[in-house]
């Protein structure tokens, strides 16, 4: 359950505690830095507006908040899908690379890694961003998407596999 110092759960406390992680999530799932800021803002404002609906009997703040954040990301994705598809159509074809993952990972920059994450499909991006951007456990990742922890584990694993493929293509 949530730490006592979170109460009463005000907008300021919610932001101070969660906004940096929401931004990390947003930075991974959004198309760019500006979109990430907009998404993080939209998600946090939605959460603040819905503070009155949060009920401790129905789950933790984490579960409640990340559901809102994921929904905001899905909504933002709907808006930008057309633009992204165009971009994907015109981006250059990736080149093949050696299948030595660790060596490849050592060589890629953080910017390249982030770019690769952002090229994943929306749901894959979301899984990666929740798990590694926001630092959630698989149970919370699953709760955010309304699936079981086991399903979240599998989905995240598949997303990582796809990411590996993209990274190899990048190198």
């Amino acid at each position: 359950m949530d730490a006592p110092d979170e109460w009463p759960l005000t907008a300021e406390r919610l932001c101070a505690r969660y906004a940096p992680r929401v931004y990390r999530f947003a930075a991974m799932v959004a198309a760019g830095d500006v979109e990430a800021e907009d998404l993080a803002q939209d998600a946090m404002v939605r959460a603040i507006r819905n503070l009155g609906r949060f009920d401790t009997r129905r789950g933790s703040v984490e579960t409640w908040l990340w559901r809102i954040v994921v929904n905001a990301a899905i909504d933002a994705g709907r808006v930008s899908t057309r633009r992204r598809r165009l971009w994907e159509r015109f981006r250059s074809q990736p080149a093949t690379a050696e299948n030595v993952e660790d060596l490849a990972l050592m060589r890629i920059t953080a910017a390249e890694l982030l770019t690769a994450v952002r090229r994943l499909r929306p749901r894959e991006r979301g899984m990666i961003a929740l798990r590694f951007g926001a630092g959630l456990g698989f149970a919370d990742v699953g709760a955010a998407y309304g699936i079981s922890p086991a399903a979240a584990t599998m989905a995240t694993r598949r997303a990582l596999d796809t990411l590996r493929t993209l990274l190899k293509e990048t190198r």
Binding site: C15, A19, P20, Y23, N50, L51, G52, F54, L113, F132
Partner: protein, 334 residues
């Protein structure tokens, strides 16, 4: 799964821009204001408030949805002095026993609204209501007027969507209400659903008479310095339950009252405002901040803050700006 890929993902440097937090809080405050008060008039001074005003507005705005308060209220029968636990939970403990018990009821569109209790001093007017069924709150179209028909501006509040308990905080009653007391009329034409669902239109008119807790001016503490900035005390006054401090800040700090500092380390540390004011009693117990606002539009910053106090005696007021300086002054509540 490859540990190295996971590590690289977790180590990605994705630092939140410093300005984003304020953007979020500011936008949320504006949204709340629009949603909650379509007929509410913002006080003229509030439109120029940027720094402390933003902080206070956000804090009080967010309090609309404070569930902890709701839990405490749900446990307390909200009649007479039994509102004490709820007031404590809302940070209004010092006001316990200062409320005038009211019992005005109105029913419309299937919703009953009851004005339960009220409190007023020179800095705020507080009303406690109950809405039944509790799925809507009194922050829709709500207007408070006095016996002269003057509107008292709304400044914040708290509601509980499970119990229907609402605490509405308005600005201070104007003269001569402040001397004579006020016959208040609260008219609600729309109840708002928590979370912004469909509002309920109706006609609820509630009335009650409350007196204004007298306040007395206290000696002004000496001015202090925050680096190159001067902090002057322009007014300090107290009731038996609250103390209000008015400040004027001149210098570089005056335009940077909304700056946030400190690292973000999840679960360990979070950014906070560089400027702070804290009131602590002789036992080291901090007083609860009740209300306040400020302006940094141009020239010196004007700030006032009010705390709830529970006993007379010496209190230490600490004014600080992180990385710049701090000072303390003693305020004696007789």
């Amino acid at each position: 799964m490859s540990t190295s890929l996971e590590d690289r993902l977790m180590e990605l440097e994705l630092r939140m821009p410093d300005t984003l937090l304020l953007r979020i809080l500011g936008h949320a405050a504006q949204t709340s204001e629009r949603e909650v008060t379509s007929v509410r008039r913002r006080p003229r001074w509030a439109t120029v408030a940027l720094a402390i005003g933003l902080l206070i507005a956000v804090v009080s705005g967010a309090s609309f949805y404070a569930p902890r308060f709701a839990q405490a209220l749900a446990d307390a029968p909200i009649v007479g002095t039994a509102i004490g636990p709820a007031l404590r939970s809302a940070g209004l403990a010092g006001l316990q026993g200062r409320f005038t018990v009211l019992d005005s009821r109105a029913t419309s569109s299937g919703y009953a609204v009851r004005l339960v209790a009220g409190y007023a001093d020179n800095n705020q007017t507080v009303l406690v209501l109950r809405v039944d069924p509790p799925d809507h709150n009194a922050f829709g179209r709500t207007q408070l007027t006095d016996q002269f028909g003057r509107t008292i501006a709304f400044s914040g509040g708290i509601s509980d969507a499970r119990t229907g308990n609402n605490v509405l905080i308005f600005q201070a009653l104007p003269w001569p209400d402040s001397s004579l007391g006020a016959r208040l009329r609260l008219h609600i034409s729309t109840l708002e659903a928590a979370g912004g669902n469909q509002p309920v239109a109706g006609d609820w008119t509630l009335q009650g008479t409350i007196s204004v807790e007298p306040s007395r001016a206290l000696p002004l503490p000496a001015a202090g310095m925050l680096g190159d900035s001067i902090v002057r005390f322009t007014k300090v006054e107290a009731t038996s339950a609250t103390v209000s401090v008015y400040l004027e800040i001149s210098g570089p700090v005056a335009t940077q009252l909304d700056r946030m500092v400190g690292p973000t380390i999840p679960y360990v540390a979070k950014p906070h405002f560089a400027f702070s004011s804290e009131l602590v009693d002789a036992n080291g117990q901090p007083a609860t901040l009740l209300n306040g606002t400020g302006s940094t539009s141009s020239g010196p910053a004007q700030i006032w803050a009010g705390w709830v106090i529970t006993h007379p005696g010496d209190y230490q007021l600490r004014i600080a700006y992180e990385g710049v300086g701090s000072f303390e002054r003693t305020i004696t509540i007789p």
